[in-house]
Subunit: 122 residues, 2 copies
């Protein structure tokens, strides 16, 4: 069983965390190559990344792909998220845990931004 | 002349700000309906949003479209960016200043995230 875990920063504003959970649910409802899609947070919201990974494995995942929902290759993407992922690897030596490239690195982002701009361009 | 101003939060890490400037340059190099694409920041980096708008108009823009490079409809998107934009409107009563929907609201984001995940999915 393959599990996709969307990982966001987490916010004191619960509506922002809920937006991330709804995004994961939306992704889950689309056609994709995983058996389930869930979400977790670096801080300020639950589940935190290690618990999100543990829950995925408890639900039967043999492979977990962690996908950083971040725009910039800052400290969170470069250091913090990988460290949280690495912190649980020793618990599950037989489980494959992948780290996907962060959203901001997607090649389609510039085109999507231009599409957004055209929605209000007179 | 139509100017597109990509607006990001701004970071103490200058490489992150440079990433935003390079993204705007990338967009500018693509086919689009604007005469120029530039960038500005809510805080911590330059130009700040009001100065970014002023510079666009000084360079000849008659219409400026502000595009929030943010993932979540939090305080920055809902309150702070619109307030910065509104703060300069009285200086330019004859210029149209549009506010585009923020990146996170783009309908293609879920599909792009699934694409990113598939890059490492075994």
């Amino acid at each position: 069983m393959k599990y996709l875990l969307l990982v966001a920063h987490g916010s004191r504003r619960e509506a922002s965390n809920e937006e991330v959970r709804e995004l994961a649910a939306k992704m889950n409802s689309m056609e994709h190559d995983f058996d389930a899609v869930g979400s977790a947070f670096l801080e300020l919201a639950e589940p935190l990344i290690p618990d999100g990974i543990r829950q995925a494995i408890a639900s039967g995942a043999k492979e977990v792909t962690v996908l950083p929902y971040f725009l910039s290759a800052g400290r969170h993407v470069v250091t913090d998220v990988p460290a949280e992922v690495d912190s649980v690897r020793p618990e599950f030596p037989k489980i494959t845990i992948n780290l996907a490239p962060y959203l901001g690195s997607a090649e389609h982002i510039p085109g999507i931004l231009l599409d957004q701009a055209n929605q209000v361009n007179g």
